[in-house]
Symmetry: C2
Subunit: 335 residues, 2 copies
DNA sequence: GATTGGCACTCTCTTCTCGCGAGTGCCAGG
DNA sequence: CCTGGCACTCGCGAGAAGAGAGTGCCAATC
């Protein structure tokens, strides 16, 4: 049904349309790509492709544009993502190597990804779930308030204020801190609940309310609410995309400001090649049905990152960039 | 030169234009506002106002729109910002009271401000400069890497990885940690440099490289680079503003993604009333000359917050909202 | 002297028409 | 199965014309 040449034609249509943003006709196709056949032949192929739903024409007498199905086939048949140039690789490395801490790594990654792909970049903080606890600190703020600071080996620091039911003695806090660290230092986050649940029973009766309050917050902070932070950048690139603006741009921007929506983007990032490409309506998020999303995970399933762009997107280039950035970020955070 | 009625006319023009986004003519003016005079009279006044540069007409035969100078006069002559309704106040309070930690306060504030003003909200983290150190922690990550965590009384937590020139013994680190806390715990950040500079000399020779490295990073983290973090939200509201889009929207979005630019926005937020209003070209940032910015500080000069919106902005409403939010944030963080 | 009604004038914006051109579908011949 | 030719379809941009909103100015009025 779809011989090789038809695939070639589809590929050519996608490439041209992505480059020019204009419906592409049979004549222009044979000129710009060395197809070695006449326009009429291409027209026949295009009719077949349209029949199958891979391309469509906006008006009766205009060129063809790819449909979502067409993009999907294009992406699936992609021999391989085109590698970045050496210069690009160096730039990525140089850009990320300057980071001083985790926040900085994430910030730089977002920026880099947005610049390289010229699209909206989305980067998730390394997840806590497979991290181990490096240290827990309790700092008295006032008589009835503590600050809990938890450091994980992924370089992430979580902080939280603990409101106490009663004022606590300094040495009681110190004691609790020591016990807490003895129990969970070096342990995996998943195991924390089991380890700390018995803690209130092990301290003296008058320190029990304190211990209970702290344990509650520890669980909230580290386990119950692993609060996957996600950072966004390059929204200015959205203006680059389409032409019929205000209507389509607003809902996308609004959706991207929702943490929940961003989380969904990384929902099931499980793909053999490691790259997930969601084209238009394939998208899990209603409001982003007008966009395409390319994501991947980095590190040993530490977290995910990706970009959001127009359906009419340079998929090979974007996929290469996302993969390359993810690789470097994984290296840096894996150290 | 400008009698009371002319001022009234200007006010009416500004209000109508802000509401409709269309040039306002003499007839519509007398209808919508009870001016008690005829359109012809208003026309005379408008001619005078135009002569003085407060209003202009886009084309020869259209209504008038305010100039920047007109907006400026309008804002300056504002009797007072119109108070929020009780419901709005309650909403603000309810929204902010649920915050669990500093990050959360800031996030909620941005969101709230964006929603209430329907514009782009900008919130600066509480500055470190007048904070005091609450606690400093050193956590070994590997043999040659430490994580430095500094907690201040403003609820802010700074973290930074310290690369050591050599591997450090655990007890050397513990010793250093104790010395460090003894020196700067409870002290003001401004005083930290003096307090820690002598520290490397006080430890044993073999711990000196360690101490030097740590002290360097402490200074970087807390003093040299007080890295004023700024959070942004509600960019989707930008699409609400103008009509000639892609051209004007892009540079603004790009500018807003620059931390440096945002910092400049809060440059000299010193105004008797506490509210700074920068209209169009008054703006210190080149790229934001097409916008107006309303900022104020919160808390006892803890930080600043504000919104960025179109020059054609509901100034009274925006000013009221910014002030109200700043007040509540100040209260919360001041506790 | 300020205010008002009247009136001619100026533009912009919308709608309409119309030709151009790009691109197609189909057919007959290689 | 490919190719050249040809009639056909529409979207798009350029003018043209009409409508409407608003102005500026002048003479009359309070």
């Amino acid at each position: 049904m779809l011989d090789d040449r038809k695939i070639d034609v589809l590929r050519a249509i996608v490439e041209d349309f992505v480059a020019t943003n204009e419906p592409v006709g049979s004549k222009a196709l044979v000129e710009r790509h060395g197809l070695g056949v006449s326009p009429a032949t291409v027209r026949n192929d295009m009719a077949a492709l349209e029949e199958e739903g891979y391309i469509a024409q906006p008006h009766t007498s205009a060129g063809r544009i790819p449909t979502e199905k067409g993009y999907r086939l294009f992406v699936d048949r992609l021999s391989g993502v085109k590698p970045l140039t050496a210069a690009e690789r160096r730039a990525i490395k140089r850009f990320l190597d300057g980071a001083v801490d985790l926040d900085d790594v994430v910030r730089r990654t977002v920026r880099l990804l947005a610049q390289v792909t010229r699209q909206v970049a989305v980067v998730q903080y390394p997840t806590l779930s497979r991290a181990t606890v490096r240290h827990v600190e309790l700092v008295p703020l006032t008589a009835t308030r503590l600050m809990l600071v938890a450091i994980t080996d992924s370089g992430r620091v979580e902080q939280r204020v603990v409101e106490l039911p009663m004022s606590a003695a300094v040495d009681a806090v110190a004691d609790l801190r020591a016990r807490l660290n003895a129990k969970i230092d070096g342990k995996r986050l998943i195991d924390v609940p089991d380890l700390v649940s018995s803690l209130p029973d092990e301290v003296s009766a008058d320190a029990r309310p304190l211990a209970t309050a702290v344990v509650t917050v520890v669980l909230e902070t580290l386990v119950e609410q692993p609060e996957e932070r996600i950072v966004l950048g390059g929204t200015a690139n959205l203006t680059r995309a389409t032409s019929d603006f205000p209507l389509t741009l607003r809902p996308v921007l609004e959706a991207l400001e929702e943490q929940m929506v961003l989380l969904k983007l990384f929902g099931e990032t499980a793909d053999p090649s490691g790259l997930t490409v969601r084209i238009g309506p394939e998208n899990p998020v209603e409001e982003l049905r007008t966009t395409s999303v390319v994501t991947t995970s980095y590190g040993e399933s530490l977290g995910s990152l990706g970009v959001v762009g127009p359906i009419r997107m340079d998929y090979p280039g974007t996929m290469a960039a996302v993969r390359a950035v993810a690789r470097y970020v994984g290296e840096i955070l894996g150290t």
